[in-house]
Amino acid sequence: MKKILIITIFATSLTACSKLEEKLGSQQTTGGSSGGGGVSASSVLAGTYEAMKLPYQDQSRVWASQEHTSDECIAPTRAGDWDDNGVWRVLHSHQWDANHSFLADTYRDLGRIVFSATDLLRLNPTPAQAAEARLLRALAMYQLLDGWDQVPYRLNTANTEEVPSVRKGVVAADYIISELNAIIADLPVGPANRANKDAARVLLMRMYINKGVYAKRAAPTFSPADMNQVITLADQIMTSPRNYSLASNYFDNFSKTNETTGSENIWTGDNIGGSSSGNVRSRWFCTLHYNSSPSGWNGFTTLSDFYDKFETVDKRRGGNPYPGMTQGVLPGFLIGQQFNGAGTPLTDRNGAPLSFTRAVKSVEVGSNLEVTGIRVIKYPIDYTSGDNAANDYVYARISDVLYLKAEAILRGGTATNNPATFGGSNTALGIVNFVRAHPSRGATALSSLTLDNLIDERGREFYWEGTRRTDLIRFGKFLAAWQEKPASTSKYLIFPIPARSLAANPNLTQNPGY
């Protein structure tokens, strides 16, 4: 037995017991300032701006959730193209569910902005850095509240075991408002492509105008106090040292040089041509035909009922030459025969005339399926920067400030005089007509202003800018039937919490009806 013992001891001593402490290889366990891994408030702030690009500029995130679900946009299935297993069709026809991949990804990607901004706050930021991060976070939270009614958040991003808490509805709205009010003083005045004071103010305006919606989406009420807040903020922005003015060409606000020429832009996402850009190019790639220049993906169109809301004189409808757009495509709506830069008529891939039709169906079945639907070019094409287009992505413009003020007056706010630079009017109608009549728009003045023609006017001014769903809900129009969409039930006023998010966080509850 002694022998056994000796041998056993010998054998086990060869290996001695391991403590099994795991040592990492190319990963590391800390990334914060203590880890010396290069994480700082400025790098995380840059990362937070970076995290804005995907959810806002890609065609399948916030933009899809706001536009494809509305009367402004449809992605017709063209034989195999854009079938995508119905992912677009269910958006337009209001049939989405909790496994809708684009909606789920949008919810997740907005959360990433929230995380990154919160993460910055523990890295000893300057007051300005902290305020910038909190504004980006407030925007993402607004979008989450607006779409899903439930805004998850972390108190401590370093404590990864924490199950995120959730703010819902009015509570979330009040929190976002308090955040915005707290940071305005620390924010920089500009420029537009940085988080700035007026950006916070315009977001506050959106919070106040929609507050009643977040309290009761099916039948919102609007308090005069909230409306007066909208009006006060509008006046502050109009008199801001940024000296906003309506651009001489409506499309200058969206061009590849809009960083300098977009005189209406309050808040944009910075895109650096040729090197560092979000997917703003998808705004034209998704709509242009294969044989257009540049060759597009032949997808999204608008609907004829929406197109018909425009007068022929309205320059926002497009059709006019634009500097740099020399290859046949013009900004605005594309309808009828298309031409190349030399003026030669284009054909589709079957050799038929490339002539975009008014009619469009959710599923195209005809031989003309390549050419159906009116195409929309909101962002003048940047032909020189390749896949990294230089057009800064527009979050908010001064005309929105004017229209929200007009709406607040219509909804019971106390009118104030506009500054002279914005027409000086103190009526809702006057404010709206100031924009319509501006040479950059060239539309005829409205004779009266009602909620019904204001929502149409908002469509004309802000089409394809990613706010339509929010507007339609606020005006009580979102569930109505429109082209290629039957009337929908009230559960579709709120998106479902994505199944995978729900599984990961017990503090989330599925929204009613899903």
Binding site: E22, Q27, G80, E161, R349, S501, A504
Partner: protein, 1016 residues
């Protein structure tokens, strides 16, 4: 007595003759055949030694031996497992020996992990296959040797590429994410499921390129037996790695005797097993006409899809492949030192051009007994292998770079692959997204090289007759290298030379892309065991082992990638320095070191040969587990009752053996990445920032499977007919899943490895039968068959996990499978196709966009059948296997061959076109992922048919030669319309594996091998 006397006289007579014949010679040669008294079957591997000497040999597969002994030698000692030891007189040239089976054949020893057990002591469910029952003919990888041979084991060749990976599942799929591959153990050394072959480095081909097979390095000729441990009683000794079952591979060892050299050679001819039919040029033209497209021959002015030719694009990239296989094994030894040296070479040409697989093997194993007492024994083993593959660009990706087969199937058959008449000028469609498959095959180069060295030394010391102490130390080193490049003349975005650049631009005239990656995988192991094996008294036999094991694994690698290189006619990966710096990517990774430390023990107690009880326990500690769960304990208990030993059975002579077994126990699955329990940050970008990648879970632990097993072994007519039936019920909980961390998370997208609620239940029956139907001296018929009935269900699971990505143009975000509670995992979740609307010509679906659960990818029934007929020197063996009751999603039909391709200048599948026509389909019909492409996967495959003829000795030197013809994958009976129903193209979504998807894989081949084996 009379007989004995007679025999004696006869032997004396023979002896005299032999003496006369060999008079004057120093040595003589004795040869003969050793057979079993039971059924006359040959006994292979029996040791034959001249008595009182160290001269010895082994019988070959036909039971034949030949031994050169001293002229004065009079006796041979012959021994074999299950037959004990026999002495015969070494009388002369031909001495045949009939050996009496001891213990009715039940002393057969089975390898059970950290030791062996007498087969009669087995309480668990173990499927053993020895070399003679392996699938015949040259096989690339070890798992193919037992395909269809063991009940409950499903072996799927993932695709037809030479050296391709396999999917092995034992008793169904228990895990959503942690992998369902069993643990492979070779001579006591567990193998990692990771392969050091780097993934492809081109983004469009992506991680979707099929993985190589981690078992490729083993030379199948070196394998003596494979034992499959299926239930907890058998597998619990492997603790946290036993839940998917364990496959023990035992290699051949040298036997005492004169040096023996065995050669095996074969040459094989492979061709595509099924060539999917697409429209030919004329059919395509009529299809265009019938669907309202212009059909005049296309010119610049008249764009149509008719280009006037007749082209067979798939035919242009397939070929007949030749496989050569050579093996030499030299073995010899004395009672105290034995060795075996083996060399192997396999050169397999794929049926797709520019794809092949070469394997070089060299291994040596030896056993040395030392000290005067011979109590110290040392085994050592060095096995080296190198595999070299040329890989064709066939992945699960629909991207331009990864779908050579799809490109070929879709190529417009009216369009020539060549420009004009020159065969040197390939018709590359610059400016188009249509890719000429032949040109792409020409442009694409992908070389992978994996070098493996597995070395072990294992000293053991017998403290007493009953107690043995053993240490096993091993190193398994594997290094993988992959080099790829794509030449700039192909019309793939970003690869083709940019014609539009001004010549002043530094990238003018540059193009192509190249990648070089290398990985290194090192596993070190030390195992210490003490075993005790004793017949304690008349009624109690104890077989016990305790041990400690420590395994450490390191895995890392790096890669370099660049685009826009200077044109060259040499491989572009040599010139990465000329690439455009802005396109360069260099990456490195090093996984956390994995340490596994275990303590284990097992006792098998046999009472009166009637009752057997086995208890097993293993405690596994792993550095991967969360710090709150460092050690897991995995016990199992089992019992067996040998009814045939009971007195009441003694009168029933027809029944040879009846044994009832029952077991229950716990096993684990820990196939999740190292570092999964920790908060980790990864460096990304340049200059680089660290971002959270993973959220900590200090409670992370293994997946846990509780298995109950009840089985009966039943044999009659002197074991000529043997049945085994098992019922099993596996319940897997603590499901491992890399859950996306709860929103909001870091922009990198952090995940959290979690043991989520819910359980996967796999239950079913296994039936095996072995029948020696005919046993005559010159005519044998043996049949063995197995059937497995399987049920799989996910229970108590919250949430839904989509997988089975369906990608391609117009398919963003689409998937085919959904993991949801109360359904089998890998259930298909699709729109229900109800037909084609006659007026519009487009598909209609039940409930519009609604989706339904429409069956699962898991077979309900598996079957294997082997029939062996021996007539004199001819032996014919037929092996079939099949799977039934499951569905396959045919994404080739949907994504590659659809009717709508007529719209876009692409070809259409013949079946798809005819079916579409009969339904009134129009080319405008979008093809949503739907039940239309869900097909029954039932198949029965003639996987192996071999005829061998035993030539015996040829001349003076060549012995036991035989010739064989072997057909692999001869035919398959199925209604599945794709290439091959035995398929598993990985279509993961967010890392969740799919199952039962076909997505234009490397097609299967049919191979005819001719071989010649002999020994010297």
């Amino acid at each position: 007595m009379k007989l004995k006397l007679l025999t004696k006289r006869f032997i004396y007579a023979l002896l005299c003759m032999a003496l006369t014949l060999t008079a004057g010679a120093q040595t003589k040669i004795v040869s003969g055949k050793v057979t079993s008294d039971k059924d006359g079957s040959p006994i292979s591997g029996a040791s034959v030694v001249a008595k009182g000497t160290t001269t010895g040999t082994q019988t070959n597969a036909s039971g034949e031996y030949s031994i050169e002994v001293g002229a004065t030698a009079t006796k041979l000692v012959i021994s074999s497992v299950g037959f004990g030891t026999t002495e015969v007189n070494a009388n002369g040239a031909n001495t045949d020996v009939v050996m009496k089976a001891t213990g009715e054949g039940l002393t057969e020893v089975v390898v059970i992990g950290y030791g062996t057990a007498r087969k009669r002591d087995l309480t668990g469910s173990v499927g053993s296959v020895s070399a003679k029952n392996f699938n015949k003919g040259p096989q690339t990888s070890a798992d193919q040797l037992i395909q269809g041979k063991v009940a409950g084991v499903q072996v799927i060749q993932n695709n037809g590429a030479p050296g391709a990976g396999t999917t092995v599942r034992i008793r169904g799929a228990a895990s959503i994410r942690a992998g369902n591959t069993p643990l492979f153990v070779i001579d006591g050394i567990p193998l990692s499921n990771t392969n050091s072959r780097p993934d492809i480095g081109f983004t469009d081909v992506g991680g979707g390129s099929p993985a190589g097979n981690p078992l490729n390095f083993i030379n199948p000729n070196d394998i003596a037996s494979m034992d499959v441990l299926k239930d907890a009683s058998a597998a619990a000794i492997y603790g946290s790695r036993g839940a998917n079952g364990v496959v023990l591979i035992t290699t051949k060892r040298g036997a005492a005797g004169l040096p023996k050299i065995e050669f095996n050679t074969s040459v094989g001819f492979s061709s595509i097993a099924k060539k999917l039919k697409v429209l030919n040029g004329d059919e395509y033209r009529s299809a265009l006409a019938a669907n309202g497209f212009k059909t005049s021959v296309s010119t610049a002015a008249v764009p149509t899809s008719n280009y006037g030719s007749n082209t067979d694009a798939l035919g242009a990239i397939i070929r007949n492949g030749i496989t050569q296989n050579y093996g030499i094994a030299i073995s010899s030894g004395s009672e105290n030192a034995r060795y075996r040296l083996s060399l192997g070479y396999l050169d397999q040409e794929g049926i797709i051009r520019k794809s092949d697989f070469k394997k070089y093997n060299a291994s040596i194993s030896s056993t040395v007994k030392m000290l005067d007492s011979k109590k110290l024994s040392v085994d050592f083993n060095v096995s080296t292998a190198q595999t070299i593959e040329n890989i064709a660009p066939i992945s699960n990706s629909a991207g331009a770079k990864g779908s050579l087969i799809g490109q070929a199937l879709q190529w417009n058959p009216t369009r020539s692959l060549y420009r004009g008449t020159s065969p040197d000028s390939l018709n590359i469609l610059y400016g188009s997204d249509l890719i000429n498959p032949l040109a792409y095959s020409e442009a694409y180069f992908d070389l992978a090289k994996v070098t493996t060295v597995l070395a072990s030394v294992s000293p053991s010391y017998k403290l007493t007759n009953d107690i043995e102490v053993r240490t096993l130390m091993s190193v398994n080193y594997s290094s993988g290298l992959r080099k790829q490049y794509l030449t700039p003349y192909i019309n793939v975005q970003d690869i083709n030379i940019d014609q539009s650049l001004p010549s002043s631009n530094p990238n003018f005239g540059k193009g192509g892309e190249a990648n070089v990656s290398q990985n290194e995988l090192v596993t070190k192991q030390i195992t210490n065991t003490i075993s005790y094996n004793k017949q304690i008294n008349k009624s109690i036999n104890l077989n016990a082992v305790v041990g400690h094991e420590y395994i450490k694994t390191d895995f890392g690698g790096n890669s370099e990638y660049g685009r826009k290189l200077q044109p060259t006619d040499r491989p572009y990966y040599y010139f990465l320095s000329s690439s455009d710096p802005s396109t360069r990517q260099t990456n490195g990774f090093q996984d956390p070191t994995q340490e596994l430390q275990s303590f284990f023990g097992r006792a098998i107690v046999n009472l009166n040969d009637k009752y057997v009880i086995t208890g097993t326990i293993r405690a596994d500690g792993s550095s991967k587990f969360g710090k709150n769960n460092r050690y897991g304990t995995f016990p199992s208990i089992a019992g067996a009752w040998n009814l045939s030993k009971e007195n009441f059975m003694s009168g029933i002579s027809e029944v040879s053996n009846v044994k009832i077994r029952a077991s229950y126990g716990l096993t684990g699955n820990q196939e999740f990445p190292a570092g999964a329990s920790q908060l980790t940050y990864i460096l990304s970008g340049n200059p680089g920032t660290f971002g959270q990648a993973q959220i900590a879970n200090p409670d992370l632990k293994w997946e846990e499977t509780k298995t109950a097993n009840i089985g009966i072994d039943f044999s009659i007519l002197k074991n000529r007919l043997a049945f085994t039936v098992d019922y099993f019920n596996k319940n897997t909980s603590n499901i491992l899943f890399p859950r996306e961390a709860a929103d909001p998370v870091t922009p990198n997208g952090a995940i959290k490895w979690t043991n989520i609620d819910g359980n996967v239940r796999n239950k079913g029956f296994e039936f095996s039968v072995n029948a020696a139907v005919i046993q005559k001296s010159d005519f044998n018929l043996n049949v063995s068959a197995n059937i497995t009935l399987l049920q799989n269900k996910l229970e108590n699971f919250i949430g839904e996990i989509p997988t089975g990505e369906v990608n391609g143009q117009g398919l963003s975000g689409a998937f085919a499978q959904l993991i949801k509670t109360d359904y089998p995992i890998n259930s298909f979740y699709l729109k229900k196709f109800t037909g084609i609307d006659k007026t519009t010509g487009i598909s209609t679906y039940e409930g519009g966009e609604q989706k339904f659960f429409l069956g699962s990818a898991n077979p309900k029934t598996l079957a294997g059948l082997t029939i062996n007929v021996g007539y004199k020197k001819l032996n014919v063996e037929m092996a079939m296997n099949g799977a039934f009751g499951h569905f396959i999603y045919n994404n080739t039909s949907k994504g590659v061959l659809a009717f709508k391709n007529l719209n876009s200048n692409k070809n259409v599948g013949k079946r798809d076109y005819e079916l579409g026509l009969s339904l009134g389909e129009k080319p405008v019909n979008p093809t949503s992922a739907s039940s239309r492409y869900l097909e029954k996967g039932d198949y029965l495959k003639m996987s192996n048919l071999t005829a061998s003829y035993n030539l015996g000795s040829l001349g003076k030197n060549i012995k036991s030669s035989s010739f064989f013809v072997n057909a692999q994958n001869l035919f398959v009976i199925t209604k599945f319309s794709g290439f091959d129903p035995e398929i598993n193209v990985s279509k993961p979504l967010n890392g969740v594996a799919s199952f039962g998807m076909e997505n234009t894989p490397y097609p299967s081949s049919r191979t005819i091998n001719l071989g010649f084996n002999f020994s010297l």
